[in-house]
């Protein structure tokens, strides 16, 4: 933590005193803070980001030629509205349009959202299976190598 990590531009406020208090307080909690790096919330957040957003499922032996991205899972057409501009019925057509759009959304969106959420879960499961598969392949290779050495 640098010396001037906060800025308060009021000359009546003693920023140095505040920083000192904060230093003392954080030092008090130092013993109870997660000691293992893996338990640190920042590390948890980074790992989760990598798992859910960053890494696309690359083509592997298990998923031959298929690349499943997070964005492919979302199938909800969020920007679609039924629209027409024929000024013959005046405000009536606006009401009809509003009604149709609202009804379609009410009927379709819950199902599409559920499907998107399911897609994302499937993607996550595939990713885990893919990792597990890669690990098992590696193990098989090691076992085969050790077996080959044993035979000689």
């Amino acid at each position: 933590m640098s010396d001037a990590w906060i800025e308060i531009s009021d000359e009546n406020i003693n920023v140095e005193e505040i920083m000192q208090k904060i230093r003392e307080r954080t030092a008090r909690h130092a013993d109870v803070l997660p000691s293992d790096d893996l338990d640190k919330p920042q590390v948890v957040a980074e790992a989760l980001w990598a798992e859910m957003i960053e890494e696309p499922i690359e083509s592997s032996i298990f998923l031959k030629g298929i690349q499943i991205r997070q964005r492919d899972c979302d199938i909800v057409p969020r920007y679609y509205v039924i629209d027409w501009r024929i000024p013959i019925l005046g405000p009536i057509h606006a009401i009809v349009r509003r009604f149709i759009n609202a009804e379609i959304r009410r009927y379709m969106l819950p199902a599409l959202k559920k499907q998107s959420s399911f897609n994302r879960k499937v993607r996550r499961a595939l990713k885990e299976l893919d990792r597990e598969n890669a690990r098992l392949h590696q193990e098989i290779e090691i076992l085969q190598q050790s077996q080959d050495i044993g035979q000689f």
């Binding site: 933590m1 640098s2 001037a4 990590w5 906060i6 800025e7 308060i8 531009s9 009021d10 009546n12 406020i13 505040i18 208090k21 904060i22 307080r25 954080t26 909690h29 109870v32 803070l33 919330p41 920042q42 948890v44 957040a45 989760l48 980001w49 859910m52 957003i53 960053e54 696309p56 991205r69 997070q70 964005r71 899972c73 979302d74 909800v76 969020r78 920007y79 501009r85 405000p91 606006a94 349009r97 509003r98 959202k113 998107s116 959420s117 994302r120």
Partner: protein, 360 residues
């Protein structure tokens, strides 16, 4: 004498639409005829705004057209703007850098990327560039705009004279309430707010609560990540409200003890002004236009040290004198955004414009 405005779409409640409506009131008060034109006209806005196809009957080379820019225009709008003979001014509200949307929303990513590229093309079609902040103006200058000027956001306290939702007030009246208001978007770094809250809850104030107020439309993947993080860190007191009504928003501000922002990209940050108005002390990470918006008020963080920020929040809640001083400074800062101040600024900018061409 006419000064009209254009934006691809308008709606009730979002910051840009509020600015457009506030500017229309100011312009009309200043004696200009002023209408709002859109490419996509929402049904509930009919009567308050017109479709851009109707602009032909208003268009004139002596008019000024303020064209608001926030995400990029469609090719149809770009062509239309180039053909319109009016004196055109871009009002730049900034575009979130596209890198933030990678893996989260491709439509936003491409729109943000295209929008930034359009800034260069627009600099040739427009007469002047205005931005909500110096930060936005600097970005315009970086895209070849000569002498961009700052037209501040209008903060009209009358818009906030709404009775706060009683149920929200009653439900959350006890404990320490930390608030952040804004669309769920990765540039706002909700995960950093959650991480700070983790330390606040575990080591400073066990009865703390975090309200994350804002819609997540189009950002479902990011929202899912945030919800998974909250679950993994076992933080049941993090509340994602989704889109809220105006009266509910008022109630959240009234219930809040601290406003915490960890955002890394803001063109201005209207919720910061709202916090100033509601007397909620601000703790904010100093990135993009945030330091400029606060301009010495609130508490500006230069480093994302979560345990230390959590302690700062605890201290702010405990120390009444410190809180009062911070809130007083914030109220003073808010004055720069009041309608009368912005009106003077707008008047000057329009007269500057007329000094360089035919009279406005």
């Amino acid at each position: 004498m006419q000064v009209h405005q254009f934006h691809p779409t308008v709606s009730f409640g979002d910051a840009i639409s509020n600015q457009i409506l506030s500017l229309q009131s100011l312009l009309r008060r200043m004696g200009y005829r002023s209408e709002i034109f859109c490419e996509r006209l929402p049904t509930h806005f009919e009567g308050r705004a017109r479709h851009m196809s109707q602009y032909a009957s208003y268009s004139s080379s002596t008019n000024v057209l303020l064209s608001h820019f926030s995400l990029g225009y469609s090719p149809a709008v770009l062509d239309w703007l180039e053909k319109v003979p009016d004196r055109k001014v871009i009002v730049y509200h900034n575009i979130t850098p596209h890198k933030y949307f990678a893996g989260i929303n491709d439509v936003y990513l491409e729109a943000a990327q295209a929008g930034r590229e359009q800034l260069n093309r627009l600099s040739r079609a427009m007469e002047a560039g205005w931005g909500d902040s110096t930060f936005n103006c600097q970005e315009l200058a970086g895209h070849g705009w000569a002498n961009p000027q700052v037209l501040p956001i209008v903060f009209d306290p009358k818009r906030y004279a709404v009775r706060p939702d009683r149920r929200v007030l009653k439900r959350w009246r006890d404990g320490l309430n930390v608030l952040f208001v804004g669309r769920v978007s990765p540039n706002k770094r909700f995960e950093d707010i959650i991480l700070t809250f983790y330390y606040l809850k575990r080591f400073v104030q066990p009865d703390a609560r975090l309200f994350l107020v804002g819609a997540a439309q189009g950002m479902e993947t990011y929202l899912e990540f945030l919800q998974a993080l909250v679950k993994r860190l076992d933080l049941p007191d993090v509340i994602f409200t989704g889109h809220v009504s105006k009266s509910q928003l008022m109630a959240y501000y009234r219930s809040a003890n601290v406003y915490l922002s960890m955002s890394e990209h803001e063109g201005l940050g209207v919720p910061l002004l709202e916090s100033m108005h509601f007397g909620v002390p601000i703790v904010a990470y100093g990135a993009a236009a945030v330091p400029e918006t606060l301009s010495g008020s609130g508490i500006l963080i230069k480093e994302k040290n979560y345990p230390a920020v959590a302690e700062m929040i605890g201290l702010l809640v405990e120390d009444e004198e410190l809180r009062t001083r911070i809130v007083t400074q914030q109220r003073k800062r808010l004055e720069a955004f009041l309608p009368e101040r912005v009106e003077a600024c707008l008047r000057e900018m329009l007269s500057d414009l007329s000094a360089y061409g035919t009279s406005v």
